[in-house]
């Protein structure tokens, strides 16, 4: 803390979320934001959010707000050995005010490595030998499905930076709550989920770069969940593509 040697212990006056669990477990529950079970939040994308970066993108999925900057390809760290193919370096961090109760705003190591693995397969690493591309994500506000949003935005930022890729990477998750599957869950739903499934894929190639399943799933549920995710990914990729086209045509208008 700036200017304070000993920070007194503080607490947030907002009540702890305990009651939501029970309301979500009722028979005919509706989602807290009144969406349908198979309906995603409205997605908003914009490229070129950070001028200092080679490429960047910003996205809002409901109240989840993420900004991603891409730097490079630039010189690899001195300690790195020679490599014929390029390197990808990912980092995901949170702001202190991203969560309802103020956090530490530290790096999220697990998400960093998952982001790396989700993108690695989509990038043509051979196109920038010896150098490194840095993908840095900052979650400005977190309200559920953070990782899928970060992955989608990161692939958009990579495209904005002109890094060669096989396809855009779109990511969507579903949560299993009781008997129902809900797509693109918000934090409250994630907190009381029985299982979660996330797919990151390249829709035009119909290839999956990452698939994570946690919790309790039956085989038909997994099939249903995967189909839901793949459909949503294809739609998401369309929105991302149109965002890229828009910014490209804007750039053309300016130059002409």
């Amino acid at each position: 803390m700036a200017g304070k040697s000993a920070t007194p212990a503080t607490y947030s006056p907002s009540p702890t979320t305990g009651k939501t669990k029970s309301t979500l477990l009722k028979e005919n529950w509706i989602r807290p934001d009144a969406r349908g079970f198979h309906q995603c939040r409205p997605a908003f994308f914009r490229t070129g959010a950070v001028n200092a970066a080679s490429g960047s993108a910003y996205a809002e999925f409901g109240n989840t707000k993420v900004i991603v900057s891409v730097f490079g390809p630039r010189e690899s760290k001195k300690a790195m050995l020679y490599s014929d193919s390029g390197r990808l370096n990912c980092n995901v961090s949170y702001t202190t005010f991203s969560t309802p109760v103020r956090g530490q705003g530290s790096d999220h190591k697990e998400y960093s490595s998952m982001l790396h693995k989700a993108l690695e397969g989509a990038i043509i690493l051979e196109s920038f030998p010896k150098t490194t591309v840095d993908v840095f994500a900052l979650v400005l506000e977190s309200s559920g499905s953070d990782l899928p949003v970060v992955i989608s935005v990161a692939s958009l930022a990579l495209a904005d930076a002109g890094i060669l890729m096989y396809d855009l990477v779109a990511a969507v998750s579903v949560s299993c709550i009781g008997k129902s599957l809900v797509i693109d869950p918000i934090s409250e739903e994630e907190n009381c989920q029985d299982g979660s499934l996330m797919i990151t894929c390249m829709p035009s190639r119909y290839e999956i770069t990452q698939l994570t399943v946690t919790g309790e799933w039956s085989t038909p549920k997994i099939n249903e969940g995967m189909q839901l995710c793949l459909d949503a990914c294809a739609k998401l990729a369309k929105i991302m593509r149109s965002c890229l086209k828009e910014s490209a045509s804007d750039a053309q208008d300016e130059s002409s």
Binding site: G3, T10, Y11, P13, A49, A52, S69, N91, T95, F136
Partner: protein, 446 residues
């Protein structure tokens, strides 16, 4: 380029070159061959070559690309050998012909800025070719790339860019002589500024501020603490400035930027010494509970004048801050009052209504950079990197001086220069205050 392993050839030509150099001592800039200038400039650009040696040791790939780009665009004549050894690349250069140094026509460049077209930017360099007899081998591959009639527009465009990268100070001074800045602004004008309040939904107060492309996002979260014994009826304001790695290519994860703690301290000093906030207003129950306001500033895009933008966003978020209505429950804990269960519980209301802080005086600032006799307001990151003398002046809205920072730098700040900066800041503070009022009134309408 040609690979060569022996270094003998360079020694053959060096005596001649140095005699040439001594002849033209008086008019170094115009008479030295262009290459010598490049090489000596390279020496100053942290490349480990002594000036005027003819060997350029290139340590990083970037250096090599810069050099090659420059060589191409200026149609260097002579031979170029690239020697590979295990670690470094050495470039051995012999330049038998003399060329004039590049003269980017500043007027043309100015036109370019105004008209946003690159067509005015025709050839800015006229290489004069002399001593043709010594012109034995040319950089065949490099030269072919830059044949004048091949891609006229592109090569001249590259020239300005290369000049900008290689001689940043000279590039900058050419502009200053014409009273214009590389981004087309007059010297004393600040960049476009915008303030958006309430950007973070989950915070008690927040603001998004843009000055040019420098972007700051600030949010305040209110928490409850037990006040200290010395000041039982006062709350606390903790200001933290963050530079996440997304904001600039210089910041890497795990290695926080140097500016982070420096700016945090400057900001909290400025805000506490300005008397903007009465900490007694943050008290809840004397001696038992008080507000701790965590003010976190995130730099989302760093393009110079970080302090100004950070201070503006901190001030804006404080003007947007709403202290929530809270009550004390039976355990002596402070809890939020929600509409439905506020009445039925037997809690003691501490803060009945949402309220705003009264801001007494509002500190606002302007950073200027000083170079020779020039004063430039609101520098970009590029300008800050070239010129090291910064003066930051903080005034409150009544024009009172709150603080002044001049952290080192080679230019002495004379009284007159400081006075000029204060006058500029006074104007800017008025401008910023009106932006802030506009943003606040826009919030009230909503």
């Amino acid at each position: 380029m040609k690979k060569k392993n022996s270094k003998q050839s360079k020694q053959a030509t060096q005596p001649k070159q140095s005699s040439e150099a001594s002849q033209s001592k008086q008019s170094i800039q115009s008479e030295f061959s262009l290459l010598s200038i490049i090489i000596s400039e390279y020496a100053s650009l942290q490349c480990c070559i002594p000036p005027w040696r003819g060997i350029c040791k290139i340590r990083r790939d970037d250096d090599c690309y810069d050099f090659a780009a420059y060589a191409c665009t200026n149609q260097l004549e002579g031979e170029m050998f690239v020697e590979y050894d295990v670690t470094d690349i050495e470039v051995l250069i012999r330049s038998p012909s003399r060329l004039t140094k590049p003269e980017p026509a500043i007027n043309q460049h100015k036109n370019k800025i105004k008209s946003h077209s690159s067509k005015n930017l025709t050839k800015t360099t006229e290489p004069r070719r002399r001593s043709e007899s010594r012109h034995r081998k040319t950089l065949s591959s490099l030269k072919r790339m830059s044949l004048p009639n091949a891609t006229e527009d592109l090569s001249s465009e590259m020239e300005v860019d290369a000049f900008r990268r290689l001689f940043p100070l000279r590039y900058f001074e050419r502009h200053l002589a014409e009273s214009i800045r590389p981004d087309g602004r007059p010297l004393k004008e600040a960049r476009e500024t915008s303030i958006f309040l309430g950007a973070v939904a989950s915070a008690n107060g927040s603001a998004l501020v843009k000055i040019g492309s420098t972007t700051m996002l600030t949010a305040i979260k209110m928490e409850v603490m037990t006040p200290s014994l010395e000041s039982p009826d006062e709350g606390c304001l903790a200001i933290d400035f963050h530079m996440p790695s997304i904001c600039s290519p210089i910041v890497r994860p795990g290695r926080p930027a140097e500016a982070e703690p420096v700016l945090s301290k400057q900001l909290s000093d400025t805000i506490s010494s300005s008397g903007m906030i009465d900490l007694k207003e943050l008290s809840l129950v004397g001696g038992k509970a008080a507000w701790m306001a965590y003010l976190d500033i995130y730099c989302l895009d760093a393009d110079g004048a970080l302090f100004d933008a950070a201070l503006l966003s901190a001030v804006a978020s404080l003007s947007h801050l709403q202290i929530p209505a809270v009550a004390m429950n039976d355990d002596g804990k402070i809890v939020l009052m929600s509409e439905e269960d506020g009445q039925k519980q037997t809690t003691e209301q501490v803060n009945k209504e949402k309220r705003k802080l009264t801001l007494k005086s509002i500190p606002l600032s302007l950073t200027c950079i000083l170079h020779k006799n020039y004063i430039l307001a609101d520098p970009t990151a590029e300008e800050e990197s070239i010129i090291e003398t910064h003066v930051t002046i903080v005034l409150d809205t009544s024009g009172q001086l709150i603080s002044l920072y001049k952290p080192g730098g080679p230019v002495l700040a004379f009284t007159s220069a400081i006075q000029d900066c204060v006058a500029l800041t006074r104007q800017r503070v008025k401008e910023l205050k009106s932006f802030l009022d506009q943003a606040n009134s826009a919030m009230e309408v909503e």
